[in-house]
């Protein structure tokens, strides 16, 4: 199927105060199929948030898109004029951020905050705007529509605030929603609830979604495909069940092993250590010319330092970037 969003060889860097360019994304390519949920998995410093904002060119001042292309509805967003971009942001592609309490205006009612998004992108009259707002609220709050429309953010729970952000994101009927850690600040029960909302919306509205998270467990039973980022590169990508159940890249394997399973009760005498990935991914000084995970990899070979691995196809749609699998 044709992709709704196509990213080709995206390179993004940040300029430090000394003027040095620090690469954050290093040749990322992928396509997003209409109606699919793509889970992007990465830890601090993997470039996952940079990816979210660079797709619609909302990078902070010191961020630079070095090269690449983002094809959406027949345009390259990286070359588009600012006016064209403003027509797309929030209307055709919308973003949902992590902290719902920071993303909402504290002294504006929830209904008004969503209505303004709609007003910015449509020429409807007052009653049309109100009707549109009410409809989208009915979508994300099956009960209590009226109370929430009139509530201020502080009167809402974390999960309800996140639903208001979702309402803002979908009110203009976008075809792509990019959500950057939308459930990170919520407790597990609420997290599951919000994932449920996303799935329903996908089914009802046919949205395609890029769901960015550091928690692989959230993607299980939720995402259709999983893409794993490390050091600004795609290290593994494939159908969610395949990648989550039998990861092939050494980094993905190590990451999954570091999460305690529910069945591993420690008991009073047994003290085991969780397997860890040494060091912090955010502190990695990436080796140039070799595999980014090489210094921490338990399966490293001599060749790993010498050249960068290319993406290898393991199955029809399962790719991994590791020299182990190259022939």
């Amino acid at each position: 199927m044709a992709s709704v969003l196509e990213i080709r060889d995206l390179h993004v860097s940040y300029r430090s105060r000394e003027g040095v360019l620090c690469p954050a994304l290093n040749g990322v390519s992928f396509g997003l199929i209409p109606g699919e949920i793509l889970g992007v998995l990465g830890e601090s410093g993997s470039g996952k948030s940079t990816l979210a904002v660079s797709l619609v060119r909302l990078l902070p001042g010191n961020g630079e898109i070095i090269r690449g292309a983002v094809h959406f509805e027949g345009k390259d967003l990286l070359q588009a004029k600012l006016e064209e971009l403003q027509q797309i942001r929030g209307r055709r592609i919308s973003l949902i951020f992590q902290e719902p309490s920071l993303a909402l205006h504290p002294t504006m009612r929830a209904g008004e905050q969503v209505r303004q998004v709609l007003a910015a992108h449509s020429s409807q009259g007052k009653s049309g705007l109100n009707e549109g707002t009410r409809q989208v609220f009915a979508e994300v709050f099956p009960e209590e529509v009226d109370r929430i429309l009139r509530s201020y953010p502080h009167q809402l729970s974390g999960g309800q605030r996140q639903r208001v952000l979702i309402a803002q994101a979908i009110v203009c009927g976008p075809s792509v929603v990019i959500a950057d850690e939308p459930t990170a600040s919520l407790d597990p029960a609420t997290q599951m609830e919000i994932l449920g909302v996303f799935r329903t919306l996908r089914e009802r509205l046919g949205l395609a979604m890029i769901f960015i998270t550091h928690n692989p467990a959230l993607l299980s039973g939720f995402a259709d495909r999983v893409m794993v980022l490390y050091g600004g590169q795609v290290v593994e990508c494939g159908p969610a069940e395949t990648v989550l159940a039998s990861p092939r890249h050494p980094y993905t394997k190590a990451l999954f092993q570091s999460i305690p399973a529910v069945s591993n009760g420690r008991g009073s005498s047994r003290k085991t250590r969780l397997p860890v990935i040494p060091g912090d991914s955010s502190q990695s000084s990436l080796p140039r010319g070799g595999c980014p995970f090489e210094p921490k990899c338990t399966e490293r070979m001599d060749i790993c330092r010498a050249r960068e691995p290319a993406l290898v196809h393991l199955g029809e749609s399962h790719v991994v970037s590791c020299l182990k699998y190259e022939n």
Partner: protein, 280 residues
């Protein structure tokens, strides 16, 4: 509700014994209607030295109020907190100051619990300065010692917290909490804000400190899997009450209360069948 001592603590004095703790907040509203919120509603438990009790619950169940009361940051409305045989609720301010250093808190977000304008050294020696028991040179030595203890390099003493990664910051917060040689560490969602691989590193560090220093932990979390991994005993809270309590393994294998079942169901998990066996 009372629990039996677990493991090695059988014949020991409890380090902490909480009896019937109750905390009521007045919820004033602009219209003048007075409402009351019962954040803690008769909480009782015991922790023995060298063990870990995990308190799990959903948002708003009273977990963090419990932490503030135990760390003497808030006074409970009624109830007793026996720490090493002394009821710290009834102590005067002067006597409380003797107790406070022995109970230390570590918060969820190390980025907001560390002063961004202070160097690592300043952050580490502040508790020592406040205690007025140490000479200048001694303090520097202790700071270095603490950094090594939590797996950081003493070379970072001049750096600012913003120059550290999330995992390094949480290690620094632990080092600061350890600087006064506390007997009880309260970890309020101390792992929740960290990446999975970093969570595992910090969890291992906590276990290591427990076996080498005999630390006692109260681990507050909503992650039942991590609670089961770190704790000897789990207490499940709902609406200010402990609704189920017992050995970690038992809570996981035979959960009784619906809150526990709900929390267990909410633990996101990956299908692990095909995962290779854990090495080490």
């Amino acid at each position: 509700m009372k629990i039996e001592a677990s493991g090695s603590g059988q014949n020991m004095q409890p380090l902490l014994k909480v009896e019937n703790l109750l905390k009521r907040y007045a919820k004033g509203s602009l219209t003048g209607a007075r409402e009351e919120l019962l954040a803690l509603d008769g909480v009782s438990f015991t922790i023995f030295p060298g063990t870990t009790l995990a308190v799990v619950g959903e948002s708003g169940s009273g977990k963090s109020t419990l932490a503030s009361c135990l760390a003497c940051l808030e006074s409970p409305t009624t109830g007793n907190i026996w720490f090493e045989g002394k009821d710290i609720v009834k102590l005067g301010e002067r006597a409380r100051r003797q107790v406070r250093p022995q109970i230390q808190l570590i918060f969820q977000d190390p980025a907001s619990s560390l002063n961004p304008r202070w160097s690592v050294l300043e952050i580490l020696v502040e508790p020592l300065i406040l205690q007025r028991k140490f000479k200048h040179e001694e303090m520097k030595q202790r700071a270095n010692f603490l950094l090594v203890r939590v797996g950081l390099s003493p070379d970072i003493v001049e750096q600012l917290p913003t120059e550290l990664s999330g995992g390094q910051r949480q290690r620094l917060a632990i080092a600061r909490a350890l600087s006064l040689e506390p007997k009880l560490l309260i970890l309020d969602e101390a792992l929740s804000a960290l990446d999975c691989s970093v969570q595992a590193q910090i969890a291992n560090l906590l276990m290591e400190l427990q076996s080498s220093l005999g630390m006692t932990y109260l681990f507050i979390t909503h992650d039942l899997a991590m609670a089961a991994y770190l704790a000897d005993e789990i207490a499940v809270m709902n609406r200010g009450r402990i609704v189920e309590q017992g050995p970690a393994e038992k809570i996981l294998k035979q959960p009784q209360h619906e809150t526990t079942l709900r929390l267990l169901a909410a633990v996101p998990r990956i299908t692990r069948a095909a995962l290779p066996a854990v090495e080490q």
